[in-house]
Amino acid sequence: MAKPSLLSVQDLVVQFPTRRGTLTAVDRVSFELAEGEILGVVGESGAGKSLTGSAIIGLLEPPGRIAEGAVYLEGQRIDQLRGEALRRLRGAKIGMIFQDPLTSLNPLLTIGQQLTETIRTHRPMSQSKARERALELLYEVGIPAPERRIDHYPHQLSGGMRQRIVISLALAAEPRLVIADEPTTALDVSIQAQITALLQRLCREHGTAVILITHDMGVIAETAERVAVMYAGRVVEIGPVHDVVKQAQHPYTKGLMGAIPKVGEAMDRLTQIRGSMPRLTAIPPGCAFNPRCDQAFARCRERPRPNLMPAGPNRAACWLYAEEHEEAAADG
């Protein structure tokens, strides 16, 4: 690893106790994130992407809880923080933005009020200074005529503008890491590109790392440097974006990439992975993907879920690469 890790997630487990038993929604997820890096987290609905993000910033809704594992930010352990220590972390070190910009903003307060409040929470300054800073932020995210817009209420602005304001709020205290949970899903396609470009530019300019959670592979391909593919609560493949897309190693990833139509190539039909991702209550034994996998063999059913192991240019959680792993280890 060249750059020191900003964020280190190690064997994170998120569970929900229900009356039918304990459900494991995030099953030993591990990854590293460097300063200023943009990591995409992609997967189907229910794969555990959002929960991983919420767990990192400590916003899991009860009864969900972090059952095992650890999260380190700048070398300090943060998953066990509570109360005031946790609050100081949020906004100043880690920010998070959510999917729907309309419901993310308080309808009864003006944009300016919400901005100045956030600014003054993290940096004590006068109301007028905070307002100046708010105007700067609005300008930075590309809001036209910010002096006018700052006194508007959220419902007076369009979806794209609202999401820009949400981004400005999340970046107001200059966090080192921003977790973006489906930031473009609720927006028009034409606006999506603008928002992803904005996110990319801002993070590059401020050196902020981003965890970009989405089910839209296209957004990842455009914006992220590395990507982690999640399936049924676990990361099944992780690697540089280009390598994961062009040289997918895990059968699930291969299926995903095969399902994307390629411009300029003639195809008879899109690859389809039969079946569907299992519900949390009915995860099959062994590798969770094995019932749908063309290349499954005995070990896939019998051994517990595999961890990430080197597989070509990436790392994949698949027994197919275990022989190579063992051979490589045997060679020294």
Binding site: R19, R274, G275, S276, P278, P284, R292
Partner: protein
């Protein structure tokens, strides 16, 4: 390539009984001791109400059983109490325990009758309003809005007053009951109507209604078959909470003197009769009927609350 069955599809179907036994409602019931206690209490009252003529120690309205010599006796554990009259007697010599049983009987019957009336009226109007739409819908909903601005007690009092004036006096017992049921029921139909109207509107837009029209079957009858099951849950919740309100409303009206006929006092009437004696020290005449009413109202209320929470998908 043959499709293998994905692992998360349930195989086979369970019988209705199995599903009910595993259902969230029953689970919630078993876990809530409060719901169980309320259910038991309600059941005891209903039992008492239905079987009062057989299990009450006396018939307090049979004048041959009542003697002025027994009047104003305190409960059995107080000084001067008589073991025949466990909770004491009133100024006429009637056994308080028996009057409570008979009174509860009337309270519950009137309550149930009003809720039934309100429910049938409300559900029908809701169906009509949702299905016919247009002017009928507008008129019914306007009426509902106007009625909702006025509290139930006002409406009940008004209807009672008008009915009394029209009939010219209180009329016989049956008329009095009819008027009472009518006035309480008319105060409560709106909630049913609104809920059912909502469900009806949802169903009306579905394709099978149009399909029925094409086939030639009357869409209304088919729609009812689909609307009613969906709406039974909420209607049941409304009915239970309504029952508590109806019992309280009837007790209030009787307390005010415009409820059930005096010859067949309900719990509210008993409280009123006993109220005068509160100041001269004969507290038991008001206290025990009051306690009975409070327990009954509380139990039905709690049951309704629990049912609403158990059937609310958002809280699961």
């Amino acid at each position: 390539m043959t499709d293998t069955v994905p692992p998360n599809v349930p195989t086979g179907t369970k019988s209705w009984w199995q599903r009910a036994a595993e259902s969230d409602v029953l689970y919630s019931f078993r876990r809530s001791w409060l719901a169980q206690v309320s259910a038991v209490v309600t059941f005891v009252f209903v039992f008492m109400a239905v079987f009062a003529p057989w299990i009450a120690p006396f018939d307090p309205y049979d004048l041959s059983q009542v003697s002025l010599l027994d009047s104003l006796l305190p409960p059995v554990w107080a000084e001067g109490g008589d073991p025949r009259f466990l909770l004491g007697t009133d100024d006429q010599g009637r056994d308080i325990l028996s009057t409570i049983m008979y009174g509860a009987r009337i309270s519950i019957f009137v309550g149930l009758a009003s809720v039934l009336f309100a429910g049938i009226l409300g559900v029908s109007l809701g169906l009509l309003s949702g299905y016919l739409g247009g002017a009928v819908d507008a008129v019914i909903m306007r009426l509902a809005d106007i009625q909702l601005t006025f509290p139930a007690i006002l409406i009940a009092l008004l209807i009672d007053g008008i009915a009394t004036a029209v009939i010219g006096g209180k009329g016989d017992a049956f008329t009095a009951y009819a008027v009472l049921t009518l006035s309480i029921g008319l105060s409560f139909w709106v909630q049913y109507a609104r809920t059912v109207r909502g469900s009806t509107l949802v169903e009306k837009n579905k394709e099978y209604v149009q399909a029925a029209r094409i086939i030639g079957r009357h869409p209304l009858s088919i729609m009812i078959r689909h609307v009613l099951p969906n709406v039974m849950g909420p209607v049941l919740v409304i009915a239970t909470i309504n029952l508590a309100l109806a019992i309280i409303l009837e007790a209030t009206l009787s307390f005010l003197g415009v409820g059930v006929p005096v010859t067949e006092p309900s719990l509210g009437t008993l409280i009123r009769i006993g109220y005068d004696f509160l100041f001269s020290g004969e507290w038991w005449i008001t206290f025990f009927p009051g306690l009975a009413l409070a327990i009954l109202a509380l139990a039905v209320n709690l049951l309704g609350d629990w049912l609403r929470d158990a059937l609310n998908p958002k809280l699961r």
